[in-house]
Amino acid sequence: MSGHGFLLAAYVPGSSLVHRAPLWLKFLLVVGCGMTSFLIADWAVSAAMLVLLCGLFLLSGAGPARLFRAVRPVLPVLVAIGLFQWWQLGAPTAARIVLNVLVCVVAASILTATTPVQALLDGVASLARPFRRFGADPERFALTIAIMLRSIPFVAGAYTDVRDSARARGLERNPRALVLPVFISTVAFARQTGEALAARGLGEPEDPED
């Protein structure tokens, strides 16, 4: 399986300014960039923001290769969307849409490249703490998010692996044969993960024992 760093840059240890920035500020950056598609109407502003964020990413010392690896999975889709919107709505709008997506991807990668998952877990758990009175369990909630983030590369990898093996068996024209193994291995992976968590005493509900 080869998907590590897919979509979100993996954590790179370091002590740069970005690494030392408080977690809430980085969270805010990501949430803020998510709002850009609302607020920014000019492609030039989006482009400037993208340059700024790329600079911030490189300042962390994670390197351009890692940045490219995080952006690569969305590139084919972005090219398709960009061309289509260019045809439909004109170049400036198409550029703005594509740039805004890149802004979001890079912003999320700045967070994940400079924050260890454990610190993210602590952050999410403390954000979820006020919901405890409604029966939420912040630790389990944070753990579920961590498992989800870890599983995206696995699922994406399963899609490519299965495509290859279907090709090897000459089944590429049968859609069920093409996707069924993805889902079977995904469910098996989910259950192994659950079992491994349980065995380590993680993720089980905190029931009073009798």
Binding site: M35, V77, M148, V155, G194
Partner: protein, 215 residues
């Protein structure tokens, strides 16, 4: 069922039926599945460029495989992280901004459709407990179609009317472009779900039966 066999859960009744670690694993991985399928091969379709992906397949399958509660949690987690800024909506978009876009209705529709089809799946599986085969598949397909028409297409049209200022007939026509793909995807989702329940009988089937046999 023989009287001698009773799973551990039934022997030591819990006050509340809470999710265990395996449930958390399933919720997290299905949320990842919905996210990954939004990013793989998205093709913009129709006048507004709402992209077509394997995502509706993944969403419906989540309901068909996990039942209402865990499906709601899985799709809800996906939406939550997308709104928080993770680029996992179709085409790598993210943030609350999508709620202002033309596909807002579809994104909200996913959550309700997955929950609805999950609920209907439990009903159908109970109903056809002793009759497997064609009837079960047909009823599940009907459940998936009803859920996706009401929630995904219904809210999708509403979203285009509100956010893209289309009148009903234009929005309806724009939405129509998704129907052929959705019918194929629902057929596929049902056949995959049945295979999953065969491969992992305790994924949902055995749970339902455990509840039934409880005194």
């Amino acid at each position: 069922m023989t009287q001698t066999h009773r799973p551990a859960a039934a022997r030591t009744p819990r006050r509340r039926d809470r999710w265990n670690a395996t449930d958390l694993g399933l919720i997290a991985v299905f949320a990842a599945l919905v996210a990954a399928s939004a990013l793989i091969a998205a093709i913009p379709v129709g006048g507004l460029g709402v992209p077509i992906t394997l995502q509706t397949l993944a969403v419906m399958l989540t309901g068909l495989a996990l039942g209402p509660g865990r499906a709601f949690a899985a799709v809800g987690l996906y939406l939550l992280l997308g709104f928080a800024g993770l680029p996992i909506f179709s085409g790598g978009r993210s943030g609350l901004g999508v709620l202002a876009g033309p596909s807002a209705g579809y994104i909200i529709g996913f959550l309700l459709a997955a929950t609805a089809v999950g609920w209907l799946t439990v009903v159908v599986l109970k109903w056809t407990a002793n009759r497997t085969g064609k009837l079960r598949a047909i009823l599940l397909f009907a459940a998936a179609m009803v859920s996706s028409i009401i929630f995904i297409h219904g809210l999708g049209i509403l979203g285009m009317m509100v956010n893209a200022k289309l009148d009903f007939s234009k929005a309806f026509l724009a939405d129509l472009a998704f129907y052929p793909g959705d019918i194929i995807k629902n057929v596929l989702a049902v056949s995959i779900a049945l295979a999953l329940h065969k491969a992992f009988p305790d994924l949902l089937l055995r749970r339902i039966r455990t509840v039934d046999t409880r005194p």
